[in-house]
Every structure is written in C-alpha cells, then in structure tokens.
C-alpha cells in the first residue's frame, strides 16, 4: 500500500479494517516494522505525554520569564465552580500545562510540533478520565490522529515557518478532532469532517512568536487548539458536515500558508511579535 495522500483515499483504502488499524498496518509496511514495534512506540509516546503532565511544576518559568504558572492557575480555578464545567476546564489546564512544560525545557512529545505539543494530550488525557477510555483505546486514537496528521503534512504543512500557526496549532487541532470522534464511536466520515472543520475554524492563524520564542502566544494557543478540536468533533458527531470536501479544505490551508507574509511565519517580526511590548522586551530580535 502506498502512503495516503488524501483523506478520501485513506477512507477508501482500509480493506475492511477499522481506520486506526488500516493506518497502523500501512505505516508498518512502509517502515518495514512489526505491528508490535509500532504499538510499543505509540504506547511510549502516550506514556511520555502522561509523564509530562504529571511532572508539571506550577512554579517553573521559561528562560525569558514570560511563561509559567498558568496551568496551575487554571487547575486551581477548576477546584470551584467554573464557567466551562469540569471537563473543559481540565482540557484547558492540561493544554496550558503541556505548553508551559515545553517552554520550560521539560520533556514533551512533539505532536506534530513542540509548540503545539499540548493539544492532543489536552484532549485525550482529560477525556480518558471523564469518559473512561482505556489505554488501548487512547493508543488507537493516536493512530487516527497521526493518520490525519500525515495527510495534513503531505497536502498542507505542519511547520509554522512554512504555513503559519494554522500549520502547527491548526494541524494539532485537526489531528485531535478525529481522535475524539473515534473515541466517541463516530464513523470515519465523521472523523474526516471533524478534521476539516477544525482546520477551517483556525484557517489563517499566523505564527507571530514574541521574541521568536515558543512562549507567547504559543502556550495559550494550545488551549484554542484543544477547544476547537472538541467543538469540531462535537459538530461532526451531531451529523454536521463540512460543506467544502475535507481534502479541498487542506488544499486551501496550503494556499493560505503560502500567501502569508514572511513576517507572520515564525520570524518573530510581525503580529504580536511586533507590538510595542514585544519590541521593548526583545529589542535585539526585531
């Protein structure tokens, strides 16, 4: 089997297998590794996500001092009555936690990038606790996520320098949405539409890191990536579809990424990075 280059092709090429398993089998063949090796690697990635969350220290601060402590703030807020309810509050806390761990040089799992490392765990780990998914199901959900991620990388981009933040947080969100649809028992078509809707709703998001660092606004953008994934997943589960076919949405994402000016593609020279605050804080960088 050749590697999937479109969502339509991936959905058609399952040979009767569940989608997660078709993705697993296809990757094993193309890499020449056994199913057991692949499953073991994926299990270690899940473990590394859980470890990162567990080892979070709300006292830690990033090198610049701009980032740290917000995961702890959100978790404390979650101990009382919250606006968004316990599940969404935990999702937001987990996204901040992982983003801060990354900014503070802790061990994380790039998913698909380090800057967007919080989105997938923020959706999956709280989901497991609130809805009771098993470890095995979470691993299968990660295969679904990476299957869609491969197509995002092939058709559009997963690099902020190339396609802006839509390629990083947007891609992470578009990987997390179908993973949740899978966990909720949705169909492959619903997974595809959740991916498309997640991309559409973050289309054009620029990469404008203050001082060129993976801190501001990157950490908090993990929150919108996770929340956007859940809303796209819920829309798909409700039977709502993307009017634009999913593959065409990814092509539009690629085109938008190419059209973004260089100043908004990870150069730290436009958008939030060009604000008076940022210029004052990082004069040499700009």
């Amino acid at each position: 089997m050749i590697q999937f280059t479109s969502i339509a092709q991936m959905l058609q090429g399952t040979d009767g297998l569940p989608l997660w398993e078709a993705i697993l089998e296809s990757d094993c063949r193309s890499q020449g590794i056994s199913r057991e090796t692949s499953l073991e690697r994926m299990s270690r990635l899940l473990q590394a996500m859980e470890d990162a969350r567990r080892d979070y220290d709300p006292q830690q601060r990033s090198a610049s001092g701009l980032v740290g402590g917000d995961g702890g703030r959100m978790a404390r807020y979650g101990e009382g009555d919250t606006l968004c309810g316990p599940f969404f509050t935990e999702v937001m806390a987990c996204a901040l936690t992982m983003g801060e761990c990354n900014a503070c040089m802790k061990r994380i799992v790039a998913a698909p990038t380090a800057g967007a490392c919080g989105v997938l765990p923020a959706v999956l780990l709280p989901y497991a606790r609130h809805f009771g998914a098993s470890r095995e199901e979470l691993i299968r959900a990660l295969y679904v996520a990476s299957g869609f991620g491969m197509i995002l990388a092939a058709r559009a981009s997963i690099s902020g320098a190339e396609g802006g933040c839509q390629a990083e947080i947007g891609s992470a969100s578009a990987m997390a949405a179908p993973a949740v649809v899978y966990l909720q028992g949705g169909t492959p078509e619903q997974m595809a539409h959740s991916c498309a809707m997640a991309v559409k709703n973050l289309l054009g998001l620029v990469c404008d890191p203050v001082g060129g660092l993976v801190e501001v606004p990157c950490v908090k953008r993990n929150v919108i990536g996770a929340m956007n994934a859940l809303s796209a997943a819920q829309m798909a589960l409700a039977g709502i579809t993307s009017r634009i076919p999913p593959d065409q949405v990814l092509d539009a994402m690629a085109e938008v990424g190419r059209a973004l000016p260089r100043s908004l593609r990870e150069t730290g020279t436009g958008g939030l990075a060009a604000t008076p605050f940022a210029r004052e804080r990082f004069p040499r960088e700009l």
Binding site: R41, L45, S62, M105, K106, R107, V109, A111, G149
Partner: protein, 224 residues
C-alpha cells in the same frame, strides 16, 4: 515521512528545530570526532544566533556533544555537566553564505587530540543536515548508519573502502566524495542501509591513504 515523524519525537522543549535538532547536531559531531570532545568552539548562524538563547540551543548543542539524547532531562543543565566531564566550550556568532537559518559551525578538539570542523543545520522537526566537514562540503542527515572517511586523494581509496563494506554485506545507499585539491585531503561520506560494525571501521583504517574513520549510528529509539 512516517507516523512517528508526525507524532514524536519525545524531546526536551521548547523547539524541535532549535532544541531537539541542536542536540542531534551535537551528537553527530561527537560521533564524527570519534572521541570525547575536550574543547569546543561553536559559531551560531542566523536564527540560531538571534533566538538560540531563549530556545536553549546553547545548552542543547553542548548536551549533544556530551552524548545526551534529545529527550534527556539533563539537557537544560548541560553546562554544569560539561564542567564535570571536562568539556570546555565557547559560543560566538558567525555569518555563513547560503546556509540554512538554523546553522552552526563546530570546531572540536578531542581528548586524544583529534581536531574536527563540522558545519550542520537543523532543518525542521528535529531533522538535521551536516553540510561541512573540515572545510569540505558534505551533505547527509544522520538518518542512516553513516561512515565518514578522511583520506589522501589518491587512486583506489573509494574502491578499497566499498570493497570492505561489500565483503561485510553492507549496502551503500549514498556516497559523496570531496577533496580540497588534487592529491590533497579528501572526505568520503557513505550512508549505509546496515549498521556499521567496529570491525569494518578498523579494517578500513588499515588501508593505504586512509587518515581517519568515524561512524555515526542513528539511535532511532531515542528519537521516539
């Protein structure tokens, strides 16, 4: 591109290109030196120079030189570790021509006195590319077992080296050869499909005209 290029690597943050890739550059440079480095001068170019400090690029490069993997929790503390292990290092910036924005030149001296110059770039997602060895152009990414042979530019070197590999059942995936001038020093880079056993490197070193042999073996597991 495979699944684990999308999900993973497990790495110390904050940036796959500025941190994880920088560790890998250090690791490859250490392997190519073939001995523990005692002194390292690192010249940062482009985005490595301008945003490297905030991304932990400095600590990451030193960590790699010490043999730490990109997911080693000690990466942020590599400077202290370097002092313990007797590695002296200094940083400066440089401007390279036509180089990738995330590039570094490393001037290394090993415990046993060997000197080596390595130029390498971090090209995204933790992937790297070595573009310079001892002033000669090179181009390899460390994804395959890689044999680097420094030799005198004289007839027969390539055939003798590939002969040793052939006898050991090792397939060459890509081969580059560059020389400083006719009859001068040359560098051969052979990316191979099979792991390179120490016996192959030892045998190659006994051949006429061969000055130095080093082997880089990618640690795929560490990148996950």
């Amino acid at each position: 591109m495979n699944l684990f290029d999308i999900l993973g690597p497990v790495m110390v943050g904050p940036s796959s290109s500025h941190t994880a890739g920088a560790v890998r550059i250090g690791l490859v440079a250490r392997a190519l030196l073939g001995q523990a480095p005692e002194e390292a001068q690192l010249l940062l170019h482009g985005s490595f120079a301008s945003t490297g400090k905030g991304h932990g690029t400095y600590q990451a490069l030193v960590a790699g030189l010490l043999g730490l993997a990109p997911d080693d929790a000690r990466v942020p503390n590599s400077f202290a570790l370097a002092q313990e292990q007797g590695l002296r290092f200094s940083f400066d910036t440089c401007q390279l021509r036509d180089a990738h924005p995330n590039s570094v030149l490393l001037h290394l001296r090993g415990r046993e006195g060997r000197k080596l110059e390595v130029g390498a770039s971090s090209v995204g997602g933790g992937r790297i590319r070595v573009f310079l060895l001892d002033g000669l152009p090179a181009s390899f990414d460390g994804e395959l077992p890689t044999l680097v042979v420094h030799n005198t530019d004289q007839p027969g070197c390539v055939s003798q080296v590939t002969g040793v590999l052939a006898r050991q059942g090792i397939n060459v995936a890509a081969l580059q050869l560059n020389r400083g001038g006719r009859g001068g020093s040359a560098v051969m880079v052979l990316e191979c499909d099979q792991p390179l056993p120490p016996s192959a490197a030892e045998e190659i070193l006994t051949l006429p005209g061969i000055l130095h042999v080093s082997v880089y073996t990618p640690d795929k597991e560490a990148r996950l």
